[in-house]
Amino acid sequence: MSSGGTTTGVTRAEYCVVACAEAWRHAGEVLAAPMGTVPAVGARLAKLTFAPDLLLTDGEALLIGDVPALGARPQVVEGWLPYRQHLALVATGRRHVMMGASQIDRHGNQNISCIGDWARPARQLLGVRGAPINTLNNPTSYWVPKHSPRVFVEQVDMVCGVGYDRAAEAGWSATRFHHVPEVISNLGVFDFATPDHTMRLRSRHPGVTVEQILAATGFALTVPGDVPYTREPTTEELRLVREVIDPKGARDREVPA
């Protein structure tokens, strides 16, 4: 159970789902590209409620015309998006992706490639994948299921997703379409709405203290005087998450209660 703050039985994973869904509220008619379970539930929730124009994929090459449960096959296909078109779509900007981050710093630089010295890493991870093109072309948010000082670091070991400082250094071609709207973790929601575009705590999930977030963050985080709670899901949103989108509770395996 979540450790207080509410009496509605809403789990931490469900607050995270709602926070992820909110990232796509004003995205418009673009591809929502969630990576990870909670963002996938969030994108589907957004489409079923306040962002019906979103495009969603089946995780492979099809754009789905319905909103099936996680893992279920779509009954309606509305389009084709093989990898070559997906990469080309990124360059059009008609997409808002939510990627994972093995490390992220206060400027929004993200690393999924490797830990340690790149030439001979202590721990090789995925590789840069599409983080460089994503961050320079379409809004790129991040999802961190386990907020810790090992993830929220002073400096990432390899800049894959480009943050605000590195984009500015690289010049206008890099900043032109660069936008990192949000970072969502199991503890709260963060943005870069500060004068120097460094990370700010926007809201904490019910049951989480500011002290807890600061202790789990390895850099100086901007904290406003009054930190609101992440909003409550509506009854209808909870029903959609629990009965329609994720009846098997995959979200709880990513963010345990």
Partner: protein
């Protein structure tokens, strides 16, 4: 051709493109044939999956050009990660789209193509050979000049092909197999089934004819030849076997046993060992 004949056309030190994506439609029978040869010192260009893993484990890669290596349902390719951690090969780590435009530049005989991707990221730092180019038009934008990824040879696996090399994909994604073939001096297609040219359109429309014979130097029929990666609709990824591969790859003794059991014979022996593996699995 046979897989052995394809490998007979390859040489130590070549730059080799491998089609598919991650653990999807990889020309694994050709990779296994390559493992049985003495060819080494390769520059491998791949959206990496177990093709990269197997070649890395066998010490055949001198340089890897890739944006990632993954088994999809198993996020990290264990042989790739281990090889990187022991510094087994040089890595040219490119963004997924930079990779695509590099292949495209090679296919179109261009020295480079301009892309936005890469600016501001450490891809520029770990690849000091990368240059930028300034737009000659009013905008004067500075963009990354992704160099052409020219290949000495390409290996791809498709669902169907005719004997001349017209090759067809029947799944939802072509990946980049046509580009690999066009970017290569010589290309070899393995397929689930060789069919008469007149039968190519019996299963699907003309837009599924992905690879043209003018870009193909040899065709091999290798049923289940993408195993254990997916080759839908002919076969899904063999998740149970992939799990066994990944578990074995994380432990040297287990890997030794895996190699002896599955990779010490020819392709027929491999497929028979896979059948035996499944017969042992609890249903």
């Amino acid at each position: 051709m046979t897989a052995e004949q394809v490998v007979g056309r390859l040489r130590t030190g070549m730059t080799l493109g491998i089609g598919g994506w991650g653990s999807r439609r990889k020309p694994m029978a050709l990779v296994r044939a390559l493992l049985r040869s003495g060819i080494t010192d390769l520059t491998v260009v791949s959206y990496g999956g177990p093709d990269v893993g197997l070649l890395a484990a066998a010490g055949r890669i001198r340089t890897l050009v890739a944006p990632f290596a993954t088994l999809d349902s198993v996020p990290l390719e264990p042989h790739f990660t281990a090889a990187r951690q022991r510094g087994a090969f040089d890595l040219v780590e490119l963004d997924e789209a930079m990779f695509m435009w590099g292949l495209t530049a090679a296919a179109q005989r261009l020295p480079f193509l301009p892309v936005r991707a890469g600016l501001g990221s450490d891809v520029m730092k770990v690849n000091p050979h990368l240059r930028t180019v300034t737009s000659p038009y009013e905008d004067a934008e500075e963009l990354v000049a992704v160099p052409a990824l020219r290949l000495d040879a390409a290996l791809v696996h498709l669902n169907r092909a005719d004997p001349q090399g017209n090759a067809q994909y029947l799944g939802p994604d072509p990946y980049f197999d046509d580009l690999f073939c066009q970017a290569a001096a010589a290309s070899y297609v393995s397929c689930e089934r060789i069919v008469d040219t007149a039968d190519l359109l019996k299963e699907a429309g003309p837009q599924t004819l992905l690879v043209k014979r003018a870009f193909v130097n040899g065709v091999v029929q290798t049923p289940n030849g993408a195993h254990f990666t997916s080759c839908v609709p002919d076969h899904e990824r063999d998740e149970a076997f992939q799990q066994a591969y990944a578990r074995a790859a994380r432990d040297p003794d287990a890997w030794q046993r895996f190699t002896e059991r599955f990779l010490s014979g020819d392709e027929e022996a491999y497929q028979a060992a896979v059948k035996a593996f499944h017969a042992e699995q609890p249903s």
